[in-house]
Amino acid sequence: MRKLIAALLARVRAYLPPQFKVLHQLFLLRVVDLEALSIEADIPRFLGQFGGVLIMLSLIHSVAVYWYIVAYPYRLEHYLISTTMLVAGLITVVSWDSIFPDRRDIMVLAPLPIRPGMILGTKLAASASLLGIALLALNTAPGLLGPFLLGQLHPSIFGVFQVLAAYWFAMIGAILFLYCSVLTIQGLAALILPCRAFLLLSGALQLIAFGGFISVYFLEPNLGTLPELLAPQNHQILAVSPQFWFLALLNQINGSLPPELAWLAHRAWMALGIVISGAMASMTLSYLRTMKATLEAPDLLPGTSGIHGLPRIGSSLRVAIAAFAFRSLSRSRQHRVVYAFFMAIVAAIAVTCLRRELYAHAPEPLPTSFLIASFLMMTLAVVGLRAVFSLPISLNANWMLRTTQLTPTRKYIDATRVTLLVFSVLPMMVMAVLLSLNYRPWLHVFQHLGILAIFGYLLIELAMINFDKVPFTCSYLPGKSNIQTVFWGAVFAWTMLTLLAGAFELDAIGSAKTYSTVIGLMLAALIALGTFNRFRARDAVLYFEDLPPELVIRLGLMYIPPDPSSSPKVLEQQKSEAE
């Protein structure tokens, strides 16, 4: 099978122009912003593991499809469309600027005899390849099983094929809609705005899109039955939700859409037409302009004084580390995007809580859902910041931190701990206070906030275990860690823990004795962990990563004959001679 696919790909590649092949391969490796990853990272392995997570999700989906697709077709189809759109949205955000050639591209490619259309085409093809891989990884199992089960109920003899075609057309349409929408917005922004304003707006749009995709996924109402879809009070939501448009499109093609919902499918067709033509037009018009503007942009742009008044949070070392972390996070697009992933979920949870608070007519008792939500927000904030701290900003500039290490490592570790506290636990505590204003009695609210604060500090101490580093100076090595185990393990562990903690805490808050015990245990754990970390830090050596030699990417332009001395036969012969 593998050989067959390779042979097919080779046959397809043979028909492609050589420039296309080379540029496509080059841009495919750069679609994802790899600067966020370590230079030592095993990129193909990382992408393979990412695909593995999607395939795992796909298998879980197929189990759900097997049990429920016949009973709840709309609910499951909507869920699959939403999840596919979310994954496509995340990929679109991560590869946000990859469609436009950057300065390096232009400096290298502009002197060569390559038409701008070829660059645009190969960039689009590279993005499409990644989206296609994600689509296949996520949908192969449910996308074959679901149509097979539903197709058997179909009156037509070709029912399975019709449902299959409908499923894949709707999924591809949903991804295309999302991707072309982003391209249209980017193209228009590039066309209208000056280069500098475009770059500024593009960064903001990227974050907004990220938050938007995740918020919509989590906050969208669950309308999974035909009566719910047909209910007049839900029409407004259906009208503005693309997931439901493509749900209707899927069912229109497979022939099971009630006529009352035909207007939704019509919206999907309209939307596809608009965004595809919009993307083509705006990209064609803006591409040349962007290339020229990028080339002509001045190297040195006058800056403003920025934020100088960062709060003094202790020693000059603490200030230096905190300011460095704040500036790195706020100015590096790669780091912002990774952090935004966590913060978007926090924002979605916060909005859900806020909605409940706004719609309440009178103060309410503290609900378990709020306790769980606040634990989750705290966890995501700390874990997100700790994760982003592990992404380097400029490994080759680390020499400065190494030559200026004038205080013991434990002080650096302490500064990192304080930075984590200031930028994760404190904002979450403020948010928790604001979100709990409608809950009574106040005593219970204060009791919960007390537990939450200790929980946050505990998380920080956990995050600091073996972290003998300055934020943003060392690499996380995707591809070298087992992303499968880490991802699923973390999801399971933290979900169980927060559910248990939330349910247990409500009982504890009602009883002074139990509450004191809980607080006592948490404080004991905090002191133990803190003491362990501080004890370890006494002998720790601050770790900085050096820049390893750059990897050479082979584009297959030259035939490099194999080294005869490294052939298996010769090696075996040498081995036997040595023995």
Partner: protein, 254 residues
């Protein structure tokens, strides 16, 4: 005084610096010369503590630098060969960060940073991101960061790289002025003319080995050669440069 005693560094078994011994004295400018790949920057990195020696000893004021590396780093200023900086910071932010890491009191740091930025003609662009700085501007930021804390030992690895003529002349005078104020100055450069003008003594490295360590005037008289360039060519340049140039021209002309 900075002393290197039989310092050796091997990379994967290959000697980059081989049994090098020399001293740099306070009040003197010591030029450190050698062709590309001769081990100059490796030696500089070992002196700063950025990389470890395979063997040998480095002493500053009679004490092994590893005995109290923090105290040593307090007294050292270093300009690396490549102007690698945190590009997302502005020039002013970078220098403030260095000052904070070095524990320089805020008021004093602010005064020195402003002064250095003005004198090095960076003041107008102090809030612009370093990513937009030219090579010369980056070099000036490095020089400011290296000197801000008034170090006793100044290590300059290709400090003139990218500097315009005016700035290079200022730096040349600054190096001699720093030495005149009793500091130990060790600097490497490929600009032999500059080295000849400002150095009291030179150390020449070739293929990782020390081939000369003396005052320029003594080297001139010993080798009976008129200039440092001639001395350097004899000690460290193996090829016939004119013949090589002809070969290159022939190759591309063929």
């Amino acid at each position: 005084m900075l002393q290197l005693r039989r310092v050796t560094k091997h990379f994967a078994g290959i000697p980059a610096v081989d049994d090098v011994t020399f001293s740099a004295r306070p009040g003197e400018v010591t030029g450190y010369l050698g062709p590309n790949g001769s081990g100059k920057s490796t030696t500089m990195k070992m002196i700063t503590g950025l990389i470890e020696m395979t063997s040998g000893r480095i002493l500053f004021d009679g004490k092994l630098i590893d005995d109290d590396i923090i105290a040593y780093k307090r007294r050292m200023g270093y300009v690396p060969e490549e102007p690698y900086l945190y590009n997302h910071l502005s020039g002013a932010e970078y220098l403030t960060m260095v000052a904070d890491l070095r524990g320089i009191p805020m008021r004093q740091a602010s005064k020195r940073i402003d002064g250095l930025l003005r004198l090095l003609s960076l003041y107008e662009d102090r809030h612009a991101a370093i990513s937009g700085y030219s090579k010369g501007m980056r070099q000036k930021v490095l020089i400011a960061a290296a000197l801000m804390h008034n170090p006793d030992l100044v290590l300059l690895d290709e400090p003139f790289s990218g500097l315009d003529v005016g700035s290079a002349l200022v730096l040349r005078s600054l190096i001699t002025e720093l030495a005149a104020r009793g500091k130990v100055v060790l600097f490497s450069s490929h600009e032999l003319d500059t080295v000849e003008r400002i150095s009291d003594r030179v150390v020449i490295l070739h293929r990782g080995k020390l081939v000369a360590d003396d005052s320029i005037s003594r080297l001139r008289s010993l080798m009976q050669l008129p200039t440092l360039e001639a001395i350097f060519s004899q000690l460290a340049v193996e090829q016939d440069t004119a013949s090589m140039a002809r070969t290159i021209a022939d190759l591309i002309d063929a």
